[in-house]
C-alpha cells in the first residue's frame, strides 16, 4: 500500500517498477509477431519488491535465478539491448543467443545464472555461499525461486545444508501462488513458504505488496543484510497477472478464476503508481517504447533470416 502519493522517498523505486513493467508489457505485445521464437516467462504484476534488490546489492553479490528471470535481470541493471537480443536469439544477446529467455545471465551485474529446471539453481547458490565462507569473503549469495521450487527435494536439502554449515545465503522465494496454471492450494497443505525455513531453523521474513512500502523496504533490508552472516529465508508474496509462459493473461485454462483475476488486477500496484506519479508513468512509457523499438529491430533481423531459410 502506498500511503502518501504526493511526496514519497520511494519514488525512485516506483519509477524502477514502472521501467520493469514497461519492458515486460512491450515484450508481451511484441511476442505476438512470433519473431522471438523462444518461450518467455513474464513477471508482470510481481514487480513491487524487485527495485529493493539494487538498494541492498553490493558489488560482488551473486544471484542465482529460476526461469522467471527477466525481472531480476532488469532489477540488477542488466542491459536492455542484451536482454532483447538474447530473447530474439541474436549473437549480441547477453549470452550470444545460446541461452535464450530461460538462461539470462549478466555476470558483471551479479546475475550469475538462471536455470529453468525448478529448484536447480538453489544448490549453485549454496555452493557459492559455501565458497564465500570457506574463502573468508563478504560476498552474499542469493537463491531466487518460486513456490513451485519449494516442492522440490533439492530445496529442502539446500535449506538443511545452509543451516548446517551456517552459510551466508539469502533464499528469496517469490510466492506468486501459481505453478504454471495450478493453484498453490492444490499443491501444498499450506500457502506459507516460511514454514520450511522454520523447520530448518532458518530465520525468515515475509513481505506482500499490501504492506506499507516502508515495512516492505525494512524487511527486505533486514533479510538481505542478516543473510551476510547466516542463512535467511525471505518470502515475497506476489501475483502474476500473465500466464506461466507466454504473452497472454491465462484465464482460458488452469485454476485461475475471472473473479480472482479481476480483484488482483484492481489491486495492481503499478496501475495506481502510474496514476499517482507522472514520473512512474513516463518511466513505463519510455521503457515500453524503447523495448518496442528494440523488439522491432531484432524481429526484422529474424524475419530476414527466416526469409533466407524459406527461399
Amino acid at each position: 500500500m502506498v500511503t502518501s502519493m504526493s511526496i514519497n522517498k520511494f519514488e525512485n523505486l516506483f519509477i524502477e517498477m514502472g521501467r520493469i513493467r514497461g519492458v515486460e508489457v512491450a515484450l508481451a505485445h511484441s511476442y505476438e509477431h512470433q519473431m522471438m521464437r523462444c518461450p518467455i516467462h513474464l513477471s508482470i504484476g510481481q514487480e513491487y519488491w524487485l527495485p529493493l534488490i539494487y538498494c541492498q546489492y553490493q558489488q560482488g553479490d551473486r544471484f542465482y535465478s529460476s526461469h522467471r528471470s527477466h525481472g531480476l535481470y532488469l532489477a540488477l541493471k542488466g542491459g536492455l539491448r542484451e536482454l532483447i537480443a538474447e530473447i530474439h536469439g541474436s549473437s549480441d544477446g547477453c549470452l550470444s543467443g545460446i541461452g535464450g529467455s530461460m538462461h539470462l545471465k549478466s555476470i558483471e551485474n551479479g546475475l550469475i545464472c538462471s536455470v529453468p529446471i525448478v529448484g536447480s539453481s538453489i544448490a549453485l547458490a549454496l555452493g557459492s555461499a559455501f565458497a564465500s565462507r570457506h574463502l573468508g569473503s563478504q560476498v552474499l549469495s542469493v537463491a531466487y525461486f518460486g513456490d513451485g521450487a519449494c516442492e522440490e527435494g533439492i530445496f529442502h536439502e539446500s535449506l538443511n545444508l545452509a543451516a548446517l554449515y551456517q552459510l551466508p545465503i539469502l533464499f528469496i522465494c517469490e510466492n506468486n501462488l501459481y505453478s504454471c496454471n495450478t493453484k498453490l492450494e492444490r499443491r501444498q497443505p499450506s500457502v506459507d513458504m516460511t514454514r520450511f525455513a522454520k523447520a530448518h531453523c532458518i530465520d525468515s521474513f515475509s513481505i506482500t505488496q499490501d504492506l506499507p512500502y516502508q515495512v516492505i523496504f525494512d524487511n527486505f533490508a533486514k533479510a538481505y543484510n542478516a543473510a551476510r552472516t547466516g542463512p535467511v529465508f525471505l518470502q515475497c508474496i506476489s501475483y502474476r497477472l500473465y500466464e506461466h509462459c507466454g504473452n497472454r493473461e491465462d484465464l482460458d485454462n488452469g485454476d485461475r478464476l475471472l473473479q480472482e483475476y479481476e480483484s488482483m488486477k484492481d489491486k495492481d500496484l503499478l496501475l495506481s503508481l502510474m496514476g499517482a506519479y507522472p514520473s512512474v508513468k513516463s518511466a513505463y512509457q519510455f521503457a515500453y517504447d524503447q523495448t518496442m523499438q528494440l523488439c522491432k529491430y531484432y524481429s526484422s533481423l529474424n524475419s530476414e533470416s527466416l526469409l533466407q531459410v524459406n527461399s
Binding site: V115, L126, H134, S158, N160
Partner: protein, 346 residues
Amino acid sequence: MDHTIAIKNQLKLLLQSSARYCLFSEGINDTFYGSIADLPAIFPNQCFELPCSENASVGLAIGAASVGLLPIVSFQRVEFALLALEQLINNGAKLSFLSEGKISCPSFFRFVIGRGWGQGPSHSQSLETIFGQIPNLNVALPVFPGDSELILANFHLYHSPTISLEHRWVHYTKRHSIAPTSLNPYVVRAGSDLTIIATSYGVVQAMRLAEIFNSFGISIEVINQFNLGCFDYCAIFDSVLKTNKLICIDLHQRLYGCGAEIISSIAEAGINLSAPPKRLSSPHTFSPSSFRMLSEYYLSLTGIALAVCELLFIDGNKLNAILAEIKLSDNLCPPDQPNRQFNGPF
C-alpha cells in the same frame, strides 16, 4: 603400494597444496575404504561431513567450484549418484557452455562400484554410459594407481566436473609399469594376436587372462579405455590394425555400451577386422545378492577365454589345457571376493 593408498597420498598432496581443495563425504571420518583415512584429522578445515542430500551436495560442489573452490565429493556407491544426476547434467555439464567459457566448475566426484559380498542389484551397477553420454562430463574409470593420480592431479584444469567411477575391486591393484599421460585409452599390455579393450575391473581380468595365454604362446594386447568422454582413438585403431581381432568387455551392459561405441568407431574408420569383433558383458539384468548366484551373472575369465579361443581358432587339447589353467586361476578366490584378504561388509 595399493590403489587406495595412492589415492590417499594424492589427496593429501592436493589438500596441502591449497585450501581451495575440500573433501566432502557422508561419513567423512569413516576412511572411505582407507582412501581418506587420517585426512580429516590433518585437514579439519578442508574436510566436511555431508548429510544424506546427494543432489544438493553435488550442486553445492559445482556451485563452489564455479567460484574458485576445488571440491572432491565421495559417494559410497554409484547408485547414490543417481539422486544427483540432475545437478551433474543440468548444471555441472552446462555451466561452462551457458557462460561461453566464462564460468568453469572443476570438481571431482568419486562414485564407487560394488561387486560381490552381497552388494546385489542396488550396490553394483557402474552405469558409466549414463554419465558418458553427457557432453562436457569427464568420466574416468581408473584401474591402476597411476590412473587415479593423473585425474586427481589434473581435474583442476578442466572446465567441467570429473567423475571417477572407482570399482571397489580395483582398490587393490598395484602400481603398473605403464602410467597414462592423458585421458586417452592406452595400452597396458602389448600383444600381437588379439586386442582386448576394457574398462575398470575388466582390465584387471583381461591382464590376468593375457598372462595365462602368454604361457601358451598367445600374445594378447590389452587396452585400458580409462575415459568415456571425448578421447583420441589412435591407441585403439593402431592396436586393431596390428592384431585384426577385437574383444570389447563392457563393465556394465553391452546394450548401447562402450563396446558398441568402439566397434562402431572402428567400422566408421573403415578398418577391416579378420574376424567379427566380440562384445562381452554381464547379461541384461541386475546382479543378484547371493554369492551362490554371482557366477551366473558376472563375466568369468573362462567366458572371456572362450571368446579369445574362438577368434583365434584354438580348439582341441590346447583349448582344454588353457581352460584348465584358467579354472585354477578362477578358483583361487570365491566369486564374491576380490582377494582372500578381503573382509566384509563392504
